[in-house]
């Protein structure tokens, strides 16, 4: 139906020194000190550049970035409902396809980037995200993962890890571990059932060059792509705001987070440590896990050990689920 339109071609950067100096996500917003998602936004914006349209489903990066009708973006940006970012992005992409085809828009197809939180990506936003991926629109959907509904006051989401203390999973006598469920596997939700998708990757704010190059690679693919970006939240996870990158790095060193690419069916892994540290090393940096017993931490370790046998590829839960115990 649609004829091919000219798209962007973004070069990989070789080192942090070669990252563009220009800022497209500008100061003046109200994110917290040490905000992981804000750092993600800064890096993604540098990677995508000015010939881009960004969409912000409701979440921290909408609420803390826009206030009093102001916004910090140097490219066009649009709020979407937390539910429908994938669908609004589909409409924008479809519009550009037809406007370019009819000669009504003269430029190349802009980079269309959704910056969704975990809720807007794989919980309430899952249906629209899946619709976009299935239909093959040329859109990059980014899930900046701060592992909770943070903007509403740190409530559990499907990305919140087992054992986390959130305001909807407070630990108590009857439920000592707080959150009892293990998280959804976000990249697998995309990889597992969307034949139009050729590129899915995970990235971390601890490795900015890798993050930038994954954004660029994803944007260069024609068709939909998905990035899952680990974006620690000092407020929600309860750690010192100076330690965002340290916490993100420790997640990789303990296997709590794995950086990988899935490209046309092939997995490649980045930043794999020679030997994984115990997950306890990571968990003890954050007050959200402070209530956990050794038995709980062992359960988390068992889950991570199983997952690390084939990172990125889903495994059956190696521990008892909440209805099995």
């Amino acid at each position: 139906m649609a004829k091919a339109v000219e798209t962007q071609n973004l070069e990989a950067v070789k080192s942090i020194r070669r990252v563009p100096q220009e800022e497209y996500y500008l100061p003046g917003h109200r994110t917290c000190q040490g905000c992981g998602p804000a750092l993600t936004y800064k890096l993604v914006s540098k990677a995508a550049g000015p010939d881009s349209i960004f969409l912000g489903p409701t979440g921290c990066m909408y609420v803390a970035n826009t206030s009093y009708l102001c916004s910090p973006w140097a490219y066009p940006w649009m709020h979407t409902q937390i539910t429908n970012a994938g669908a609004v992005a589909s409409g924008i992409e479809a519009a550009y396809q037809v406007l370019i085809r009819k000669g009504k828009y003269k430029g190349k197809l802009p980079n269309i980037v959704v910056m969704g939180g975990d809720g807007g990506s794989i919980d309430i936003g899952l249906q629209a995200m899946s619709g976009l991926m299935y239909r093959g629109h040329d859109v990059l959907f980014i899930m900046y993962d701060n592992e909770s509904y943070a903007n509403t006051g740190i409530q559990t989401s499907p990305a919140t890890p087992y054992g986390a203390n959130t305001t909807f999973t407070p630990p108590g006598e009857a439920i000592p571990e707080g959150k009892v469920l293990f998280p959804k596997d976000a990249p697998q939700l995309v990889i597992g059932g969307h034949p139009a998708v050729h590129y899915v990757a995970t990235a971390s704010v601890a490795y900015p060059v890798d993050l930038i190059n994954k954004v660029r690679k994803a944007l260069n693919y024609k068709g939909p792509s998905f990035l899952h970006i680990h974006s620690p939240c000092p407020k929600g996870w309860m750690f010192d705001a100076a330690k965002t990158v340290e916490v993100a790095k420790l997640a990789i060193e303990t296997g709590m987070w794995v950086n990988y690419e899935w490209e046309k069916g092939e997995y490649t892994y980045q930043h794999t440590p020679k030997e994984y540290k115990p997950v306890k090393e990571y968990m003890k940096t954050q007050q959200r896990f402070a209530h956990l017993t050794d038995a709980h931490i062992a359960k988390m370790q068992a889950f991570i050990d199983a997952r690390l046998k084939a990172p990125g590829i889903p495994v059956a839960l190696p521990v008892l689920g909440p209805r099995e115990e």
Partner: protein, 397 residues
């Protein structure tokens, strides 16, 4: 000379959209509106219409796709029926508040439960406060004409509002009627290409929909209300020019039938007006001074026109075809707005309402005759005994 065709309401809507050169279409199947998308998908597949046809994963996505496309500067079209209309409810306010003039075709269907395919206006009447222009067509011809007119009205730079272009499910959507099919060149003359003044364009960056704080809310709400205050004059001009170019005789807001010396009128919107016209003819044959007033736009509601027109009669009966459970008049919605519009009239008519055509029931001629008896009595006494009559259930109807 324009050709004549025989089209049902669904096909008429699809051809109205094609003649309007819609650029992005978003679909999802639900009866009875589905026929619109079936027809449009053929036109796109045949290459008769150059548009992106996007299969939404639900009505919520359909409306989101449409307003996203509108934000990027394309003319966008979608549609739905029944629970599909209510499923998309979250997305109506962002489209209207974003001043994104996409169009949504509605072929009404009763809501669940119980599951019912029939036409009832409650589906989209539930969305009447979301800031969309809306009104009903009576015939396939009016469906096609409204589709084109609504784009012209909604995309007016002083309006910039989305539109619900409504028709009754089945009674209009599935019963073919004669349609005078406009020339494309006439439509192109009437409807210029859509131009979004603030599109999402990297060469002119803008932000759509940043947060506000409560102190900024009233001013923005006022702007949206003001836009609606200005819509009627745009409608008058758009309808007048449409009549001139296409040789029609639509009145902008109220279509009156045999009202010149009428004692009472049926007041309604949509397809049941067809039956009402026949009922009025038969009543007139028997010497009963009945008439009909058909509402063409529910939003903006033509308050002044209603006050002026309906105050000519002794009694008015609204035929509701929708529900407002527990509302002021304990029946439908039309009567609320009609009575409000008549409040300051020096000698208002007696106004009552009839719950008819619910769940897709046909409103029969006999039912109109029974309503006429109630209205004739009200015209004689100058008052109504009840605010609402459930037709076929209440005494006298």
């Amino acid at each position: 000379m324009a050709k004549e065709m025989f089209l049902a309401g669904c096909s008429a809507a699809a051809h109205g959209a094609k003649l309007s050169r819609v650029e992005v279409i978003s679909s999802y199947p639900i009866r009875p509106y589905t026929g619109i998308m079936m027809e449009l998908s053929k036109l796109v597949a045949n290459g008769e219409l150059d548009a992106e046809f996007v299969h939404g994963e639900g009505e919520h996505a359909q409306v989101s796709i449409a307003y996203g496309a509108s934000a990027a500067g394309a003319r966008a079209y979608t549609g739905s029926s029944g629970v599909g209309v209510t499923y998309a409810m979250e997305c109506y306010s962002p489209a209207a508040g974003g001043r994104l003039p996409c169009q949504m075709a509605i072929a009404d269907r009763a809501l669940d439960p119980p599951g019912d395919f029939g036409s009832e206006h409650t589906d989209v009447m539930s969305a009447r406060d979301q800031g969309w222009i809306m009104g009903w067509a009576e015939t396939p011809q009016e469906v096609l004409d409204n589709t084109i007119m609504y784009f012209r009205i909604g995309e007016d730079p002083g309006v910039m509002l989305p539109q619900f272009c409504c028709q009754d499910g089945y009674f209009v959507s599935h019963i073919p009627g004669k349609v005078v099919y406009p020339e494309q060149s006439q439509v192109d003359e009437y409807l210029p290409p859509f131009k979004n003044p603030h599109p999402l364009d990297p060469t002119k960056p803008v932000s759509h929909g940043p947060q506000i704080y409560p102190d900024q809310g009233p001013a923005i709400d006022l702007q949206r209300a003001q836009a609606f205050i200005d819509v009627p004059k745009v409608i008058r001009k758009a309808v007048k020019e449409y009549n001139e170019i296409f040789g029609r005789d639509y009145s902008p807001f109220l279509d009156e039938y045999r009202t010149d010396d009428a004692d009472f009128v049926f007041f309604l919107q949509g397809g049941h007006a067809r039956t009402a016209r026949y009922a009025v003819n038969h009543l007139r044959d028997k010497g009963v001074k009945a008439g009909m007033v058909k509402l063409r736009f529910l939003r903006p509601f033509p308050t002044e026109e209603i006050a002026e027109t309906l105050s000519k009669f002794k009694a008015v009966g609204t035929v509701e075809t929708s529900t407002s459970y527990g509302g002021a008049m304990k029946g439908g919605n039309l009567i609320h707005e009609v009575r409000a519009a008549l409040y300051d009239v020096p000698k208002p008519p007696a106004v009552t309402s009839f719950m008819a055509g619910l769940g897709g029931e046909v409103v029969t001629l006999d039912e109109f005759y029974n309503m006429a008896k109630v209205l004739a009595q009200a015209a004689k006494t100058g008052k109504v005994d009840q605010y609402v009559y459930w037709v076929n259930f209440d005494k006298g109807v």
